[in-house]
C-alpha cells in the first residue's frame, strides 16, 4: 500500500453532535485512520466544540452516546486535539468542560496548523 509514507492529516470538526450524523461518522473515520500510522490531528471549531462537551446522556433520544470514543482516542495514539478558543468563548464553555485533554488555541493558530497539513478532511 503506502508503506513508509507519513502524511499530516487533520480532521476538522465544525458540527454539533446528534443533530446530524457528521460528528459520529467523522469519529469513525478517525478510528480507521489510526491503523494507517499517519500524523493525525483533530480540530474542533465552531459548533464542533460541542462534540467534546462533557456529560452527553443520550438515553432519551435513543441514539448511541459516542462520547466515550473520544476518550479512547489516546489508546490509538491520537492525542493532538485542538479546540478553537473563540468557539469555546462564544458558547460559554471552557477547557474544563471538555471530556478529554485538549489544546485550546485561536482560530488563527489553527489556521496556521492547517497550512502545514498534507490533507484536510472536513465533515
Amino acid at each position: 500500500m503506502s508503506e513508509g509514507q507519513v502524511k499530516k492529516i487533520m480532521y476538522v470538526n465544525r458540527k454539533a453532535p446528534y443533530g446530524t450524523i457528521y460528528a459520529l461518522e467523522s469519529l469513525e473515520v478517525v478510528l480507521i485512520a489510526a491503523a494507517f500510522d499517519q500524523d493525525v490531528s483533530l480540530a474542533f471549531m465552531d459548533d464542533g466544540v460541542y462534540q467534546l462537551k462533557k456529560g452527553h446522556q443520550t438515553k432519551g433520544i435513543e441514539v448511541k452516546n459516542f462520547q466515550p470514543t473520544y476518550r479512547a482516542l489516546d489508546d490509538y495514539d491520537i492525542n493532538k486535539l485542538y479546540v478553537e478558543k473563540e468557539a469555546l468563548e462564544a458558547r460559554g464553555l471552557s477547557e474544563e468542560d471538555m471530556c478529554v485533554p485538549v489544546e485550546v488555541m485561536s482560530a488563527a493558530e489553527i489556521g496556521k496548523l492547517m497550512e502545514e497539513q498534507d490533507v484536510l478532511l472536513s465533515f
Partner: protein, 119 residues
C-alpha cells in the same frame, strides 16, 4: 496530478454531488487523474440504481456511472454508511463498489490532493 475526491452528500438535496461531478470532469479534461471518488455520509445515496429523476432533470447517478465507465474511475461507497442507509450490492449502480473507510484514508495518502464536497 492525482486527485482524490470525497462526496459527503446525496444527490439532488445538496449541490455537493453536482459540484464534485463537474470538478472531476474538468480535472480529467485538463489531463489530471482522479485517484478515487469516495462517497460517505448521505453521499452513499449517489450510488443507488433505483434513482429515477424526472426526464427533464439530470440523472446524477447515471452520470457518475458513465463518467466512471468512460474514464475508468474508482467510485467507492463506504460500507458502514451504505448499510445504514439501505445501499447494498443488490441496488448498487454500475461503476460503484462498496468498501471500507480504509479506502478513504488510503486515497488521502496516495492522492496528491484531496477535495471534499459536502454541506
Amino acid at each position: 496530478m492525482n486527485l482524490g475526491i470525497l462526496v459527503n452528500e446525496g444527490p439532488y438535496t445538496h449541490e455537493a454531488s453536482d459540484s464534485a461531478y463537474h470538478f472531476c470532469k474538468a480535472a480529467l479534461a485538463s489531463g489530471h487523474q482522479i485517484q478515487r471518488v469516495f462517497f460517505y455520509h448521505d453521499g452513499v445515496n449517489n450510488a443507488t440504481r433505483l434513482t429515477e429523476p424526472p426526464q427533464d432533470d439530470r440523472h446524477i447517478v447515471n452520470r457518475w456511472s458513465k463518467l466512471a465507465a468512460d474514464n475508468k474511475l474508482d467510485l467507492v461507497v463506504c460500507v458502514a454508511a451504505a448499510l445504514r442507509r439501505g445501499i447494498k450490492d443488490e441496488n448498487l449502480a454500475a461503476g460503484f463498489r462498496i468498501s471500507g473507510l480504509g479506502q478513504l484514508i488510503e486515497s488521502s495518502i496516495q492522492a496528491d490532493r484531496m477535495v471534499t464536497f459536502g454541506d
